[in-house]
């Protein structure tokens, strides 16, 4: 176990050597902590004070107030909670459905591959936002519905990346080896192939998180996301755009929060894939092989 921890901390150190990744990670940690601890913050996201509606940023309200006089900073922080929850749930759904699909399709090939991958193609052929709207129309407007809708649109990403990994690992000798010892296909898939495929799947999860946040915001912006009064960045953008002249801060500040969060996830994902690529490059000590055709 300690060896695994050591490896993890080494990977983390390599990741943090990238300045962009370090800043992104720090930002995301702050956002997550704020979102988790929103209840303990001194401002109240729900208290209305109509007399102080649409006030610009001030010492009392750092991000100003909205059309009902609610504190925008508090609502942005609570909105982060909505976004992160939806993203985490959606990625979890996409992973739980997509990874086994990719494993089975890649490992067995044949008709299972054909059936599963055509299903994935169908999902991909439908525009994500339309598909999500249809699901919300069926399930009704709730955070859970948004989460499921966003999650399903992420299934193809996981299924495809997992399948690609399985295909390249499937014929490697160490997989043949466990089959030769008499391991079941389940063992070969879950215990041998999957642990070797984790890194690109993790990168995919990070990238998908940023897409999920964006899609959730888009749904909210269209008015079919998380129902009010729960604050959400998309919802704030939607209302804020009506007051762009009187109170530009109303739309702009949640927009910045949204942009920075997505940007951070993206930067982190790209840095991760770079670090993992480097580590794979070093996986074989050059000195050991016949020094052939370099």
């Amino acid at each position: 176990m300690t060896a695994r921890l050591r490896r993890l901390s080494l990977a983390l150190a390599a990741l943090l050597a990238d300045r962009g990744a370090a800043i992104s990670l720090a930002f995301l940690v702050v956002v997550t902590l704020l979102a988790a601890g929103a209840g303990w913050l001194p401002m109240d996201a729900m208290r209305q004070d109509i007399l102080k509606a649409l006030e610009p940023p001030s010492a009392a309200h750092w991000f100003g107030t909205d059309e009902l006089g609610r504190d925008i900073l508090a609502r942005v922080i609570l909105g982060a909670r909505t976004s992160l929850q939806t993203a985490a749930g959606a990625v979890a759904i996409a992973a739980v459905v997509g990874i086994p699909m990719g494993l089975v399709a890649g490992y067995f090939g044949g008709w299972r591959d054909t059936v599963l991958m055509r299903f994935v193609d169908v999902l991909l052929a439908l525009p994500g936002i339309l598909f999500a709207m249809a699901i919300i129309a069926v399930l009704g407007r709730s955070q859970m519905a948004a989460l499921i809708a966003v999650g399903i649109t992420g299934v193809p990403n996981f299924a495809r990346i997992t399948r690609a990994q399985v295909l390249s690992l499937r014929s490697r000798d160490f997989v043949t080896a466990v089959e030769a010892f008499g391991a079941s296909s389940g063992y070969a898939m879950a215990r041998t192939i999957l642990p070797n495929a984790w890194s690109p799947i993790m990168v995919q999860a990070i990238v998908l998180a940023s897409l999920a946040i964006l899609l959730e915001a888009a749904l909210a912006f269209l008015g079919i996301g998380v129902p009010p009064p729960t604050p959400s960045w998309g919802e704030m953008l939607r209302t804020g755009k009506n007051y762009l002249h009187e109170a530009p801060h109303y739309a702009v500040l949640p927009g910045i929060a949204l942009t920075l969060t997505i940007l951070s996830f993206d930067t982190l994902g790209r840095a991760m894939s770079r670090v993992l690529e480097d580590r794979h490059g070093q996986a074989m000590p050059a000195g050991d092989r016949q020094e052939e055709g370099r």
């Binding site: 160490f174 080896a177 010892f181 020094e291």
Partner: protein
């Protein structure tokens, strides 16, 4: 002697990675003269490839190069890129190991061959096609005009390497650098290519620097040899002198650790330990921890020996050893065969009868079956306890497929496989699992056969866990015992496969195969990916384990010398069939099938003295496509004894009169019979 084409003085190369710079070359001096073949030989990491790349200014910018390299009168070190580019275009030709990656798949071969000359303005575009055909003709490719218009995928492996040689020769370079040019080729094709390379060199008078790890190849082609170890040349000299009387203990040890065609049985003398990594060289002489002369002498551990002339001045031999004068002559190859334990009495462990494995070929439209690749087409074989039976043949002959079919990893088309008398063909998964406990597999490539995310003790324990036997076999204590059995220390627990060297990884693979206490082990090219000195260690280990545990081995290999070293019985495969089977001594001393004879004569022998007089059967052509094998005897298109009968009728596999062998040939017989006209004598150039 004329001025050298390539002159290297005090070459030092450091690679600056993320950490401190790693010295890869530490002071190399060498000269290559026109019309000379210099072989640089060494194990992996010795710096032989880097030396050649540095000599032509081809190293990446992360390399720091010091010293002086004069190539064809031009100082390469510090030359501007434009000068270097012209120099490489005109003065140097390159031949790399893998012809499949050297040629650009989307360009016709003819165009690639002349591309460089056209780019350097030395050939007019209009004349290029004719010149390409001429060059292909010079490397003995039939129908050069037609072939010049074809793409690399339409060429076979040997033809691709010929095309690469043609490309290297296109500019009539004064120096050719050949980096392991035949390592990726089969032994019969290797013989063709080496033969061609030497003849083209003699015709053009070019100098060749040939980099190889194979001492047999060195003895075949070299004029002079440089032996590298730990980033330095440790011994250099003319090929005859160096093989007859090596002056450096490393050269001696290397020659002794080599399995040879002309010896049998007994143990090899491996070099202990591992080749050093460039980043962690021992102090003093970098060979001293593995050296038998050093033996604790403080001078070896403290002071790096200089390369100095040793022996008679006329011999031109030099060695970098403080005690070179004490270096003994290499022991003559042991010819005394051990009394072979009569394994014939034991009951057969594995019986293969008429095994067939056909893979369907599907058409692109509707995936209809168009035909079959007959990977294995009628193989019969018996392995007894305590016995090693080898399957030997060139790539694509079906030897690995046979091994995998026995393990139940590929579906069997026909025939029977019996393990301890019980048929294992078509067994259900659970029943097969019970059989697999007693039958284990060691893979060729130790780099890819160990799961990279598991610590090594879990890799070895995995078969036990799969069978639910981990605790009943004794858990971690048992794993530790397995580690000791294969010469590894249990203190290595907790480390991951990539932290180990190739030889150590193969030991882990062997420990894993032994974990379930099998009775039969299938060894698929277990030493092919390893360095010579490590190869000997692993072969000895396998022999010791067999004696201790009474294991039966099915040993699959292409290297005939290794097979001779380890086998009791040998079966030679060609295109999915066994063409000859016999006990090891008979097969090597009195081969009856013409294919066996040509295979044996194609193996380079590490003995330069006899090379000009050695009769050699050079097979023409290459292995046919197993999806469309020739009619009659499948070997007849390449056979020097083929008659009309061979073209019409497939020979039966039957005992050969007067020998304990079984042979599938209409014209089986000792070498020389009816073949004298076809044998090509190697004429000294």
């Amino acid at each position: 002697m004329s001025a050298p084409v390539l002159s290297v003085r005090g070459l030092e190369v450091d690679f600056a990675g993320s950490g401190r710079p790693v010295p890869v070359i530490r002071g190399v001096d060498l000269d290559v003269h026109p019309n000379e073949i210099l072989c640089i030989v060494g194990e992996s990491g010795s710096g032989k490839s880097v030396t050649a790349l540095a000599a032509t200014g081809l190293l990446p910018p992360t390399a720091r190069v010091r010293g002086r390299v004069v190539l064809d009168g031009t100082d390469v070190t510090g030359a501007p890129p434009e000068v270097l580019r012209r120099l490489r275009g005109e003065a140097v030709g390159f031949i790399f190991q893998d012809p499949t990656t050297t040629l650009n798949p989307v360009l016709p071969v003819g165009r690639q061959i002349t591309e460089g000359q056209v780019a350097h303005g030395r050939l007019r575009q209009a004349d290029a096609p004719a010149r390409a055909a001429e060059l292909l003709g010079e490397v003995e490719i039939a129908d050069p005009e037609g072939r010049a218009r074809q793409y690399p995928h339409q060429f076979s492996g040997g033809m691709r390497q010929r095309a690469v040689i043609a490309m290297a020769m296109a500019g009539r370079p004064r120096l050719i650098i050949a980096d392991e040019p035949t390592t990726a080729l089969d032994v019969t094709v290797q013989a063709q290519v080496l033969d061609l390379l030497r003849r083209r060199q003699a015709e053009t008078g070019a100098a060749i620097v040939l980099i190889t790890h194979d001492l047999g190849v060195v003895a075949e082609v070299a004029d002079r040899v440089a032996v590298m170890y730990g980033g330095r040349i440790v011994e250099t000299g003319p090929v005859d002198a160096l093989f007859a009387r090596p002056r450096h203990p490393y050269t001696t040890a290397l020659l002794e650790s080599l399995p040879r065609l002309d010896t049998r049985g007994g143990r090899l003398d491996p070099i202990p330990g591992q080749p050093p990594l460039p980043g962690a060289l021992p102090a003093g002489c970098s060979f001293h921890p593995r050296c038998r002369l050093a033996a604790g002498r403080p001078r070896c551990a403290a002071e790096e020996p200089a390369l100095r002339p040793v022996g008679a001045a006329a011999a031109g031999q030099a060695a970098a050893c403080h005690f070179a004068e004490e270096n003994p002559r290499p022991k003559p190859p042991a010819t005394v065969a051990e009394a072979a334990a009569s394994a014939a009495a034991a009951a057969p462990l594995l019986q293969i009868e008429g095994l067939k494995v056909h893979f369907p070929l599907r058409s692109r439209v509707l995936r209809l079956t168009r035909g079959h690749v007959r990977a294995v087409d009628g193989v019969s074989l018996t392995v007894r306890a305590g016995e090693t039976v080898s399957l030997v043949g060139e790539s694509g002959c079906g030897k690995t497929t046979t091994g995998r079919a026995v393990m139940g990893l590929v579906p069997v088309t026909g025939g029977d496989i019996r393990f301890e008398g019980r048929s294992v063909v078509g067994l259900r998964r659970l029943a097969m699992r019970g059989v697999r406990r007693h039958m284990q597999y060691v893979f060729q490539d130790p780099f890819s056969s160990l799961n990279p995310v598991l610590p090594v003790e879990d890799v070895v324990a995995e078969p036990l866990r799969i069978h639910g036997l981990y605790d009943s076999f004794g858990g971690a204590r048992y794993i530790a015992r397995l580690f000791e059995m294969v010469g590894l220390s249990p203190t290595m627990f907790g480390r991951y496969p990539r932290e180990f060297s190739g030889g150590q990884k193969q030991r882990i693979g062997i420990a894993r195969a032994l974990a379930l206490k099998p009775r039969l082990v299938i060894l698929d090219e277990p030493v092919a990916a390893l360095d010579v000195s490590i190869q000997a260690q692993i072969l000895n280990l396998l022999q010791d384990l067999q004696r201790e545990l009474g294991l039966g081995y099915l040993f699959i290999a292409h290297n005939l010398s290794v097979v001779r070293q380890i086998s009791d019985r040998v079966a030679v495969m060609y295109l999915g069939r066994v063409v000859e089977e016999s006990d090891s001594d008979t097969l090597y001393e009195a081969p009856a099938h013409p294919y066996t004879q040509s295979l044996l004569s194609a193996v380079p022998v590490p003995e330069p003295a006899g090379r000009t007089g050695r009769g050699r059967i050079v097979l023409t052509g290459e292995i046919p496509n197993p999806a469309a094998p020739p009619g009659g005897c499948t070997f007849h298109p390449r056979c020097f004894r083929a008659t009309d009968r061979c073209r019409a009728e497939a020979p039966a596999f039957r005992p050969h009169p007067g020998l304990p062998s079984r042979v599938a040939c209409h014209h089986a017989g000792p070498p020389g019979t009816g073949a004298s006209a076809e044998r090509t004598e190697e004429a000294a150039p």
